[in-house]
Symmetry: C2
């Protein structure tokens, strides 16, 4: 195996860093699952070992997010992109509508898919200001539910907590689930692609209030009907076994590290480290407005645009990976998901300080 | 690592046996992709290494199936179960219909999903005889396309070759793709879940004639629109990187072994071995009708039902795994996908012979 692993600081926006112990165990299971002589990926998904994996993964989601019994947990496929359609189909009554808080590219895409199958509209938007902040969510909606995107990876903005609105919320939490405790009862449904805080790309988590599905009056296609999947214990069809197994390992790790409260503290410490340097260092500017800054993705630019490639070179030389900003806003993005250690953020801020010394 | 791997003969119906070299390489990549110091599953899907993986996987499908340039290749999510809906949506004009050859459980499910979004009907069915044979496909259909399921894993039946009909076919080839050459021009679309001959569960392959999509007059949801995925080179959203990488490895292995013509010969040899023993041995009966027998899944029962658990015990003692028949028809099922060596089938037929000697 490579001896360089420890020198890479992985700030990728997703797929992204996972705990080294999880990668090791996932790798082992692809060779031989628990010493049974067969690979994780060549056994039946209905075999006892895999059924146990699926149950443990679902149970860990329940315990780590303190879900009440009336919430269901599913691991499906298609990512949050198919989730845009699935959630709209399952939570918009055929004679009702859904409100969308448009806080970035992904929220816009969610609204676009919802409009293909029913009535949906923007209740608020920050598009006119380049999605650089989270606009206030009106407290009252006349729709059946309100859809939010809790963290916006591209722009580095995030709701500071669980918003308050007079209707059940449907939330795309792909990029900040398990980063902090949530007030679950505010949500009819939470969905999240695995490839940030939970595991590899290839599975999407749905958490929803069982009492609020099956109420739309629609005859849904089977794969897009959450109740169909729940009825089969998340095994309506062959599940993506590797992605679910690795997510289960990450959830075990999360639990072992102290759970979402511990992650919240660690993430706050990492965010404080990077944002204080962005604010202090005259060579850099933060992109997201104060009050809307994401704990998961810090976006910033070089004050002098000519510095952009030079700073990327400096990061590269320090083993910092994945720091280039999304093409929509340019500059830099430091994604600091649960598995990223504070020490990696400190390496980055050291490079920023050194860059100020040499280029300031 | 386990030292028992070599003694297990994996006849699982899917997820199923994969080449040992593929499992080894996939395991290594989860730890460190090509010595780059990062895991396959923690790098961006838009990074050069993964874009290269996706392109190689798609190119290998093209070369190994000798696809003309007007066929597109995509690796998506949702399995064939979402494919039932996706293919119906993409190939049934809003004022047209699709014919379905109902040859088993999966074909029935495909028809059910198609009916949720348009006009679809059975053109033929073998349900009345327990799906024990492939009924003749009428040569003429008045629908826009004809859907077939080329191999029926549960019942152990398979079309002997590419059927002839006067309309483009849409084929679920989940359980026999890459087992033999195909006459691609007969098909508007082929789709296949990866977890038999191609790789782990978690991705589904679509191959389709680009000239025949976008003709339905429907405004499709983005994830269910094949043209949307093609426009983004199969990266409309984050792809299931591990499943695609491992599928690419299996396709490399396939090519190295001699391709689909070589697989066809090996599979014929394995099928001849098991079926000759089923026909010779008075303690067993074949389930599928002669002429409809599957090269991939041999289904058979014990002449004396009391022998069923005893024979399963004998298989277990010989390291034979996954031989229990599907609950719908009971008995036994020997799934002999590409990666299963003839030697494993010989171990099974030896156990059958020994069982005759001890229980006959």
């Amino acid at each position: 195996m490579s001896t360089t692993t420890h020198t890479i600081h992985n700030f990728s926006a997703g797929p992204c860093i996972l705990p080294p112990s999880v990668l090791q165990q996932a790798s082992d299971a692809v060779r031989d699952l628990d010493g049974g002589g067969l690979s994780l990926i060549e056994i039946s998904h209905r075999s006892k070992p895999f059924v146990a994996v699926m149950e443990e993964a679902r149970d860990l989601v329940r315990s780590e997010l303190s879900l009440p019994d009336h919430y269901e947990v599913l691991f499906l496929q298609g990512g949050a992109s198919l989730g845009f359609l699935t959630t709209a189909m399952n939570f918009t009554p055929s004679n009702g509508s859904m409100d969308y808080a448009v806080t970035g590219t992904w929220a816009k895409k969610a609204l676009k898919e919802a409009r293909k199958m029913g009535t949906a509209q923007a209740i608020t938007s920050s598009e006119d200001s380049g999605f650089n902040h989270i606009p206030d969510l009106p407290g009252a909606s006349s729709a059946s539910a309100v859809h939010i995107t809790t963290n916006n990876t591209i722009y580095g903005t995030q709701y500071a907590g669980d918003p308050t609105v007079n209707k059940p919320m449907v939330a795309d939490m792909s990029s900040d689930i398990f980063s902090r405790p949530i007030d679950i009862e505010r949500y009819a449904c939470i969905y999240a692609g695995a490839q940030k805080n939970m595991g590899p790309a290839g599975t999407v988590l749905y958490i929803y209030d069982k009492r609020q599905v099956g109420q739309t009056g629609r005859d849904l296609p089977s794969y897009l009907d959450l109740a169909v999947h729940a009825d089969k214990d998340s095994m309506f069809n062959t599940p993506p076994v590797f992605a679910i197994y690795t997510s289960m390992l990450t959830l075990r790790w999360l639990k072992g590290e102290g759970g979402v409260r511990e992650m919240q503290q660690r993430n706050a410490a990492k965010a404080a480290c990077i944002y204080s340097e962005i604010d202090r260092n005259p060579l850099f500017n933060g992109y997201a407005a104060l009050g809307s800054r994401s704990v998961m993705n810090a976006t910033f630019t070089a004050t002098d645009e000519d510095h952009t490639p030079l700073f990327l070179d400096a990061c590269n030389a320090a083993g910092i990976n994945g720091i280039k900003g999304h093409r929509s806003i340019g500059g830099f993005r430091a994604s600091m998901y649960n598995a990223l250690p504070l020490s990696s953020v400190e390496v980055l801020t050291d490079v920023m300080k050194e860059f100020e010394r040499t280029h300031g």
